[in-house]
Amino acid sequence: MYKIVAKKELAPKIKLFEVYAPEIAEKAKPGQFIILIIDEKGERIPLTIAGYDRKKGTVTFVFNEVGKTTKQLGLLKEGDSITNITGPLGNPSEIKNFGNVLCIGGGVMIAPMLLQVKALREVGNAVTTVIGARIKDLLFFEEEMKALSHKFYVATDDGSKGYKGLGFLKEFIEKDRFDRCIAMGPVVMMKTVCEITKPFGIPTIVTLTPIMVDGMGMCGVCRVTVGGQMKFACVDGPEFDGHLVDFDGLINRQRMFLPEERLSSLLWEKLGGCGCGGK
């Protein structure tokens, strides 16, 4: 059992949990993920590690309440426990002094991007950060990110805050010479970033979050085509060279269970699992 020691709502439906998991905290590195299962009937869901405190023995992750499992997770309170957390999983990020790094975090992945930016700064990189969301209300960690970055920008899909969309990137990639770009966020966002950086030849690393079951190299559901080869995000990734990733294939595979996910979520709400008493 893994106890939730702190819970925060970062934006509507976006929640942060800090859980007591000293052995995972001891080993976790930026870029890795955990898999959790809420209870014995639960599914295994992967979440990117957003922080760890080796002294306190805690691990932090952030999730968006989109399906039954994340909604149910969101109902847990400080002091409650999660049946099982496995981690750290996946390969750690390559953290070294690349020079001038452009970091783009979108949606819920803004959280692990903060950890990434911290690590990149610690080894001496100059970091330009962009955070993005659909609308301004879904942005979080603005102050924290700003404090760590040399340059900081905001973008939203609807233009309600900062730039509208990511088209503006092209302009400052032309101006600023970036040695590396790191993108973490929705697949469509990472695809757009890769399309923008590719003509400039900026090495671009993306974090893939395909469907996973075991997350440790057994089931193969997280397979993705990278450079024409089949790779498994859980053991070969989750980070890959974004210019080689078949994003359309990935988008297609992520949609595989949408009808079942909707059904599960709907039934759970109808049966009052969400605490609304079936209303």
């Binding site: 890795q32 599914e43 079951v213 075991d214 089931c219 089949m230 053991v235 294939g249 595979r253 079942e260």
Partner: protein, 470 residues
């Protein structure tokens, strides 16, 4: 004077095992075989000739004293019979169900020459089930040695090694990467062949021996093998991490929706119980026309599970012919009785998707058998221009697995073969001091019982190593 004695009349036919009827069982996940009654078990045991030089024992990878336990069953001493088995085998209820006895102990049974061999597996299963219902007794353990052993993987190899080492007085901790113990017994073999409550009972028995179980520990990531030995205070490590990454066909369209590896399909259905979705959260989607690619036991398990999940038609496509099928004969028969169709000498060449990215058709090519290959089986060769199309909406690829790479990648100095399996000597000793390995991670995909045999052998070697170590 032998001619004066009346020759006992040996019954040539084995006592049949009661089973669920095919038309019933094809739509439920309950166990297919129902097990012997006490009378049936005694009757079957009475056929045993009690050979002075038994041919069955050398066929058993864990060397159970088979004639002795059968004699005890015949005498109605079930309690003693199960004790006799457990001297060598800590998981009899499992082995009685999933061992390929026809290729092992039963293969050389003298009775088999002129009739059915003794059904050793069914008898083993009977006494194990009898004991479980009555309450399992825990054997005496040797005094504590003060030595600590880490077992990586709670599958057949790891559980066996853990039980043997605990009985010898060592402190044993099993690190299991999944959230439930059992390895392939829980994620791979379906409920209708091996009920999970039985695996749980066998694991409980091992816990009662004092073995500690830590779930959700992926060794190589959370602790490495050198860390277990140097920092975590373990004196020896046994690696039993099993078969890992699924193999795919490498043909176009394999990433379309509706195409599962057998591992994914079976993990969803067995470990995550998606047959009970949405009561259980993990989904599975099964189409009307399901095709399973492959001819082994995993293919049979996948096909039979798909049928139970409601598929209208399940077809197994295998590139060789029936004779070369690696699956157990009994399982092929069970599958066919349930209405599963086998299509031989065909191999997929590509998958065709619909506008939503879901598989809708599979193109195959006909094969013919050429001269034998290195496995001794005749090599399948494609017949030019023989392509044909099948309409499918679910495909399960069951063509084997390659070893999980995580431990090999994170353990410096561990000798590994070009296939990624761990190199060991005849006692299961790996290339690093204090490190042992066994089961599929060493042999590549094999059987539950051969993994248990390897766990047993390694436990013996680990014990010797620990007792000689200062």
């Amino acid at each position: 004077m032998a001619e004066n004695k009346p020759t006992p009349k040996v019954k040539k036919k084995a006592v049949p095992m009661p089973k669920q009827k095919p038309e019933v069982r094809r739509r439920n996940f309950n166990e297919v075989a129902l097990g012997y009654t006490e009378e049936q078990a005694i009757e079957e045991a009475s056929r045993c000739l009690q050979c002075p030089k038994p041919q069955c024992v050398p066929g058993c990878p864990v060397e159970i004293d088979i004639p002795a336990f059968i004699k005890l069953i015949r005498e109605g001493k079930f309690d003693e019979a199960v004790k006799k088995i457990k001297e060598k085998n800590s998981l009899p209820a499992i082995c009685g169900r999933v061992c390929p006895q026809e290729e092992q102990c039963q293969m050389n049974c003298v009775l088999g020459k002129a009739g059915d061999p003794i059904n050793i597996g069914r008898l083993e299963r009977f006494v194990a089930d009898w004991e479980r219902q009555k309450g399992v007794t825990i054997p005496e353990k040797a005094p504590a040695t003060g030595k600590k052993v880490a077992i990586i993987g709670a599958g057949p190899a790891g559980l066996t090694a853990a039980a043997d080492l605990a009985k010898l007085g060592h402190e044993v901790v099993i690190f299991e990467a999944l959230h439930l113990p059992g390895g392939v017994l829980v994620y791979g073999i379906p409920e209708f062949r091996l009920p999970k409550s039985i695996v749980q009972a066998e694991v409980d028995y091992i816990k009662k021996l004092g073995v500690e179980l830590r779930l959700g520990y992926l060794i190589g990531r959370i602790h490495t093998i050198p860390e277990l030995l140097k920092e975590e205070g373990f004196d020896a490590v046994f690696i039993g991490t099993g078969a890992g990454l699924p193999q795919f066909l490498g043909v176009p369209g394999e990433n379309l929706g509706g195409i599962y590896s057998a591992n994914e399909f079976l993990i969803r259905v067995n470990l995550m119980k998606s047959y009970a979705f949405p009561e259980y959260d993990t989904p599975i989607r099964i189409g009307r026309h399901v095709v399973v690619i492959g001819g082994g036991n995993v293919a049979m398990d996948s096909a039979r599970s798909a049928l139970r999940l409601g598929a209208e038609e399940v077809c197994i496509v295998y590139r060789r012919s029936r004779e070369e099928m690696p699956a157990r004969k009994e399982e092929i028969e069970n599958a066919e009785e349930e209405g599963i169709i086998c299509k031989f000498l065909a191999n997929p060449t590509r998958f065709i998707g619909d506008e939503k990215g879901w598989v809708k058709q599979m193109e195959c090519i006909c094969m013919e058998l050429g001269p034998p290959d290195e496995s001794g089986r005749r090599r399948p060769v494609p017949v030019k221009g023989s392509e044909f199309i099948m309409n499918v909406d679910t495909v399960i690829v069951a063509i084997g697995r390659t070893p999980n790479p995580i431990i090999q990648r994170t353990t410096e100095g561990l000798a590994v073969t070009k296939w990624g399996t761990i190199v060991v000597d005849e006692n299961g000793r790996a290339s690093l001091e204090g490190v042992y390995a066994g089961g599929d991670i060493v042999t590549g995909e094999a059987t539950v019982i051969s993994a248990m045999g390897a766990g047993k052998k390694a436990a013996k070697a680990i014990h010797q190593y620990l007792m000689n170590k200062k």
